[in-house]
Structures are given as C-alpha cells and as structure tokens.
Amino acid sequence: MTSARTSFRRFGGLLHKEFVQIVRDPSSIAIALVMPVVLLLLIGFGISLDARNVRFGIVDENRSVESAGLFQAFANTPYFRPFSFLTSRAAEAALMRGDIAGFVVLRSDFSRRVADPIRAADIAIVVNGVDANNARIVTGYAQGVVATWLLGHRRDRAQPALSPVTIENRYWFNPEIRSTNFIVPGLIAMVMTMIGALLTALVVAREWERGTMEAMLASPASMTEILLGKLVAYFVLGLGGLGVSVFLGLVVFEVPFRGSAEVLLAVSSVFLIVSLAMGLLISTVARSQFVAAQLAFLVTFMPALILSGLMFDIESMPRWVQAVTTVFPARYFVSSLQTLFLAGTVWPVLLPNLAMLVGFAILFLALAIARTRRSLE
C-alpha cells in the first residue's frame, strides 16, 4: 500500500497534534514523568538485598571479657543490632517470635578456647532460613564479624593466627557491595520498558475508543506516518522520563556512573524505540485503554522484573528459562545499564546488547505497522 507520497506538512501536522494532546491531557505526562519517580523511589528503597541493622541475638553463656568484646564487635558494625541472651532457649523463643533474625551461641568455655592456640573455639550460628537469600547474607556477615574480631583479638595478644592463609576480598565495580548500585540501573530499565509500552499502547487505544483512528485511516495519511508521528512524539516524552530516572539514580540513590553519557543516551534511545514499538504492537490487539494497560503491564513489567537479570541472576537460572529470557528486550538493556553505571563503556558487553536492541526495534516497528494496516478488518 503506497500512500499518496509522504508530505512534510502532513507529518508536521500529525506531530503537532500529538504534542498538543500531550500538553492538554495530563495522563501521558503522568506516565512519562511521575511514574518513574514513584516506581524508582518505592522499589529502589523498598528492595534492598543488603542486610542492615539486622536484629541478632548473642547467647553469652561465658560472660567473660572476650564474649563482651565479641558483643561489642557486633554492635560496632552497621549490619547488626545485637541483643544479649543468657540461654539458648530464650534466644530460640525470640527467633520463633520473629524478634531476631538469628543468634550466635558462645559456650561457657569460649574464653578458654579462644586463648587455646591448638583447639579452635566452637561458635554456633543459628539463622532463620525461611528467606534463604537473606539467611545466607546474615550468616556471611556474622562469620565475618567473628573472624575479624578473632583476628584482632589474637593480634592484641600477639598470638599467631589459626589459619595459615588469610583471604583478602576485593569487590570490583561495586567495592562497597551496595545492592542499590546494581538494582537501580536495572530498575531504570524496567521503568523505561513500562512507560514506553504504556504510552503508545494507551494513546492508540484511546484513538480507537474515540473513533479518531477511523477518521485518520480514512484520510490520505498512511499508517506509517500515523505511527511514526506517535513514535517521535512519545520518544521525546520518554527521553524526559529517562532523564528523570537517571537523575534520581545519581542524586537520590548515589549510584556511581562510570560510562559515557553519549553512549547511555544512544543505548537508551534505541531501547525506548523498542518499548514504544512494543506499545504500538499491543495497540494492534487492544482496542480499549483498559485492555491495553493490562497487556502492557503483563508483557513489560513482569518479564522486566523477573527475567531481565534485574533481580535474579540469569546465569543461575535453569537452561530453558535462560533461553526464555533472550526474547525479552529488557534483559539487554539491564545488562547495558549495569555496565555503563558500574563498569564503564565496555564495548565487548555493550555492542552485542545494542545489536540485539536494534534488531528488536526494527522487528517490533515492522510488525506494528504491518498489523495496524489491516486492523479495521
């Protein structure tokens, strides 16, 4: 279907219409600019994979200078708020009630064993394992606190360390191992998926609902012109949403940015086109705003949250789930953003992701145009 040749005036008219509508109808602006703020703040502050101020029990059967010192060591880290218990039973009860996340038991021979250069002291660590991930983190931290305290304690006494090997940890790209640094870039990707798809899916559905789409289709404007008009207008609005998200990430969440801003803009632009085109594709099956919104949530929010590597490591998923993740564009954007924010402009990571995103953009746009053309049938 070749329409009467493309005209600049016609395309300009379509664009102008979209911008006037964006300004007059606050719902698009709310989606593009307010939703990122709300989502980022809620999820960014709400989801943290770090343990902080964990309520932790110390069962001190020893009641010695050493056990008091270990208590103090727990109190001195930002990760724990220690509570002292006299018996294991009392600590168990507190764990049952959910008052504490776990406890360590220092037996009555703790101080003697600590001083013994041959026989190591036994310390029991009990952790509520319902939330397995959190339990692992708490256990690791608790072990760390004990080990550090022991090292210092022995150094003070000029006793040799028990272990002949000590491990020095270095966390690259995220030296403070703040999970925020890694989650927020992923969240930005999720937010961009959602606003992109929602914006176009809703505005096109609105045109169907109000009967204006029919009038458009009967005019000399071609489907490509109509959809490109929407794409360009909401691309500009979506970039605003990206700006807001990046600003929040850098300023409110204090995530470092180590890559190049130009590359960030380029990758995000391509991804924005992908998600806007996804919205257009949704609008070819959803003729009401309600259905459009539901579909947009279903195909963007859930995969972006679960299958993009934002929350859960893709490498540790079963093979077939890993295969499923490859068809969701958000995955490539999450990886790109995490690289750009935390590692820098690492082309070997960025290029394959960018290539995939460009592929998705072309595919979705072509599908959207091809499908809308026949859609009055």
Partner: protein
C-alpha cells in the same frame, strides 16, 4: 456521467457472520443517498467499504472510477465522518481544522480561505478557540462535517451524523448537506431514523446485510397511496384496539400515533369495520404514507407476522395518587447543572416519555428517579415511596431495562432469569412461578437453554424486559428501549408495553428517538437541563399547526419548542 459509487454483488463477512450479502447499488453525484436500516443492518460496514477502510470479500466496488484495490488514489477525494464524528476532543475547533488541512496537504492561501468559508457555513466562527470536547452535540456534528468537507471531497460519507442530536441541529445539518449536494458532490448519509429517509433523493434500505429496497423515497411510499388512514381513538382501551386491528387480515400495520390509530392496509385490503373495531361514529381519514409504512409492509411480506402477545394479567396493586412525582429535581456536577428544577407527575398505568437530545439531562433525571443518583435539590416519589428516605423500598417497586440490555451474555436464558430473580429476592414458589410466567408470556421456552449473548436482538430485548418484570414492579423504567431496532421489533415491544400499561404498570421512557416518543401517552420535552414542555404528543403537535403545516410531526413541535425556549432565554437575558 458515470455513477460516483458502483457496487455489484458486494459481500463482506466477519468470521462466520455475513455483514453484507450481494449488494448492488449506485450512488450518484449531486444527490443525497440515504443509507437506511436498523442497527446491525450493515450500514457502517458498507460505508467503511466505500471509504476504503475495509476490503470486499465478494463482488465489485468502484469509487470515483477506481477499483477497491486502488483506493489510495481517491482517498483525498473522499470526506468521511465516522460515528461520533472522529474529532480530537482535546484539540480546539481551529486545531481540528488545521490538522485536517495538514493531513490533506493543503497549503497556505487556499487553507485560510477554506477555513473562513467552512466556519461561516457551519456557524462555528465564534467558537474557533473552544475545545472540541466542550462543544454541544450539534456543534460537534457541524465541526465533524466541516472537517470532512475541508479537502473539497467529491464524495462525502456520513455515518449516522444525526444520531442523538437535537432536532434543531439536525435540521441545520440537513440544510448544510443539501447545499453541498447542490455543488455536485455525492453524499451518502446513513441513518436509523426512518423519517430521514424521506428527505433523501434516493435511498438504500438495508436489513440484516441485504439490500431490501432502493430508489427514490417518493416512489417507495407511492405504492401505499390510498392505503394509509388515521382513526381517532377513544380515551380508554387504546392498546387493546391497536392489538385487535393489527391482527386483522386486511391490515398490514396498526400503530398508535398520539390520539389516533394509524392503519396501513395490505395491497387490495379493505378498510375494516370501524364500528366493530373502535366504536360508533369513528371515521377513518386518509393520510400521507410514510417511509416507515412502506418499510413495515415490505418486512411483513418477508417475515411471518408478529403474533400479538397474549394480554398480560394485571401484575400490580393499584397505588394511591401519582405513580411518579418529581418536584424541582436538580442535579449539579461540579459547576455544571445537568438537571435544573424538573417537575412532573405520572399517573398509574400511564406511559410517560422523557424526550430530548443526548446531553440534555434525560439520563440524569432518569437515574435520580431510579435511585441511582442522589439529587442536589428537589424531591422524587416513585410508587408512593420517597426516594430521599427509602431508596431500597422504592427499588423493589421499580423495574429497569437499560438500553444495552444488561444481561449476562454467557449465561443461558434460564440462568439469566434465575439470577435476576435471585437478585430481586424472589424465592420458592413465587420464584418458580414468576420464571414460568416470563418464559411463557415472552415466548422464551424454545431458547431457554441457549446463551443469551448468541440470541437475535429481538429475543435479547424480550429477555431483558422479562428480567425487569420478574419482581412485578409497579413502575417500569425503559432507557431508549427500541432505538435502532427494526420497526417490526419496535411494534412487538411496544405492544407488550401497552399491555403492561393496561394492566396498571406505570412506564417511564427516555428517548432521543421521535418514533419511540409517539408511543407515549404523555411526553416531557427535555432540553439543556430543563423540561421546556409537557403534554400528550398530539397536544404538543397541535400548538404548531399552521396553514403550511397542517400535520406537524413531533419533530416540528420539538424544533418549535426549542425555538420558543431559546427566544424566551434571550428575552430574560435582555431584560
């Protein structure tokens, strides 16, 4: 000169349903061609085919000399106004026009002049800065028309341009379109209003996807010359007389028209004995046949006549005083006053109609009387109950049938009846006897186990009415019950309503449909939130009888009343 549009054997199916079957017709330049038929007849599908929005499945379609497959060449020469006008409501009048001009690639000089012409032509010049969404129905309609006319089309397609618009605006629209036809463009005007067909130069009558008739409307009605009569009716038993007359073998159609009985005789039929039918000293006076008469005669030949529904038992206790009493009902939505001090009363067993265009305040009034909306001021009594005090009690005495038939489409007919009887709190013997009564008197036995959503429109309508009557309400509320249905179905429906009214049920109807209003005993004309007049259809028409207009229609009366009202408003404003 070749016809602007030529259809031959045109067919279009959507999945398993045939929307259009074997339509052969032409649309000529310089004429208004009426595309007439009830909802679901295929009008919109045909317009979309001509506009190039759909491709035909069978037959050929030529528009402005081009085949259906080659539509982009003529797209600029077609002006198309979809239902609900296709306007951008958050754009101003001017911006809507600018957009259309851009879409058609109209440049600088030509555009300014074209805007000026159209704005002046449609009377929208003072409103260029107003958002389209804030225009009245009539003004939206004119803006939609201006947008469609902007590129100077050779073919103008209008999909139900006058639906729900007040009659004064409707006439204005006809004036504009008539002028356009004079400039030589071809116009297709689709409508479910049969009276509009008479104003067209030619018509295409569609019924369930088939072309039933076409040609000039005067030729169509001329066949009935000498077969249409009006008979004055007595005050009582009017519905019974109508039912008897309709069942007579020589009669094609019998309807109540105000205080008279309108009789259409079958071909070669003789006038029935009026002494038997109505009573002594009744006379039949010949009247001009209408488009609807011809349509009904045609349908009657096509389908078995509708069996007169059995007279219904009196299902209600008589109430003292008025069945409905509205006093100074007022409702504000923010700063907008949707209903402004509306007062009226309805006697038990009376059929009262609220007639007005969309947005006039009918539905708001209606909802206040059903207890769905609390009035900002004023009071309402329904079936002897003050809605302000005992809304729940009042609801038990009210039956409600909405325009869209709120039935559960994926439940069977029996399940729907079961469900609604439960909702109305019927139980035990009464429940089963009421369901049995509904099945029998609405002839639903044969379809009891079918899904309601799959039923033909006529059955859905009966089921909806049956559901509304399950709990034997004293007052029945009907929201545009027969707009868009074919005239036979409308007759069947109103014949039932007539029977109910004779049984003592009070009926309140809202409508923007003049044809529906004729069935009411009394009407309240609602316009711009106010009730500007009330009275029987005949009394309302009587006020506007002139030498030129010896038989004014209800629409003539409506237009006259609006004019008087507006003049009065201006008088008040001036004083």
């Amino acid at each position: 000169m070749p016809a602007t549009v030529t259809l031959a054997g045109l067919g279009k199916t959507f999945g398993p349903t045939a929307a259009l079957t074997d339509v052969t017709a032409t649309v000529e330049a310089g004429q208004i061609t009426g595309l007439v038929g009830p909802d679901g007849a295929g009008k919109t599908t045909l317009l979309r085919l001509i506009a190039g929005l759909l491709m035909p499945d069978a037959g050929t379609l030529q528009v402005l000399g081009h085949e259906a497959t080659d539509r982009d060449a003529v797209r600029g020469d077609i002006g198309y106004m979809p239902q609900r006008f296709g306007l951008y409501e958050d754009l101003t009048v001017q911006e809507n026009l600018e957009l259309q001009a851009d879409l058609h690639d109209l440049d600088g000089a030509a555009r300014g002049e074209r805007f000026a012409t159209l704005l002046q032509f449609t009377g929208l010049a003072p409103f260029t800065g107003r958002l389209a969404g804030q225009l009245s129905g009539g003004m939206k309609q004119k803006l939609g028309l201006a947008c469609a006319l902007l590129p100077r089309p050779k073919l103008l397609l209008l999909d139900e341009p006058s639906a729900g618009v007040d009659p004064a605006s409707r006439r204005e629209l006809w004036r504009i379109v008539r002028t356009m036809a004079g400039t030589g463009i071809a116009i297709v005007w689709s409508t479910a209003y049969l009276d509009e067909a008479e104003r067209c130069d030619s018509f295409l009558l569609l019924d369930r996807g088939h072309l039933l008739a076409s040609g000039s409307p005067s030729d169509f009605t001329r066949r009935l010359e000498g077969r249409t009569f009006l008979v004055e009716l007595p005050e009582r038993q009017r519905h019974r007389i109508q039912r008897t007359a309709a069942a007579l073998p020589s009669v094609a159609d019998a309807t109540i028209q105000g205080r008279s009985l309108r009789l259409v005789l079958k071909e070669g039929g003789v006038l029935p004995d009026l002494d038997d039918l109505v009573g002594s000293d009744a006379t039949a006076r010949p009247t001009r046949p209408r488009f609807e008469d011809a349509f009904v005669s045609l349908l009657q030949a096509d389908r078995p006549p509708v069996a007169a529904p059995p007279p219904q038992e009196a299902i209600t206790r008589s109430t003292d005083g008025m069945a409905i009493e509205a006093r100074d009902l007022t409702r504000d939505f923010g700063r907008f006053r949707a209903v402004d001090r509306v007062s009226f009363t309805v006697r038990p067993g009376e059929i009262f109609g609220l007639l007005g265009p969309n947005g006039a305040g009918k539905s708001t009034t209606f909802r206040m009387l059903c207890g769905l909306l609390v009035p900002s001021a004023g009071s309402a009594h329904v079936a002897g109950v003050d809605l302000g005090r005992a809304r729940a009690t009042a609801r038990e005495r009210i039956g409600y049938m909405s325009q869209k038939f709120s039935l559960y489409g994926n439940l069977s007919v029996r399940d729907n009846l079961d469900f609604f009887s439960g909702v109305y709190g019927l139980a035990g013997r009464r429940r089963s006897s009421r369901i049995a009564w509904t099945m029998e008197s609405f002839d639903l036995g044969a379809v009891a186990n079918l899904e309601a959503g799959t039923l033909p429109l006529g059955f859905k309508q009966r089921l909806a009415l049956g559901c509304a009557l399950l709990h034997e309400p004293q007052v029945l509320f009907l929201d545009e019950p027969t707009s868009g249905v074919d005239p036979l179905m409308r007759r069947e429906f109103w014949s039932r309503i007539g029977g109910l009214a004779e049984g003592g049920v009070t009926v309140l109807v809202t409508s923007h449909f003049m044809e529906e209003a004729e069935y009411c005993d009394r009407l309240g004309i609602v316009y711009a939130g106010k009730m500007i007049a009330s009275g029987s259809p005949d009394a309302l028409k009587q006020r506007f009888v002139t030498a030129e207009l010896p038989e004014p229609t209800l629409e003539d009366a409506f237009v006259g009343l609006i004019r008087e009202h507006d003049a009065g408003q201006r008088g008040v404003a001036a004083a």
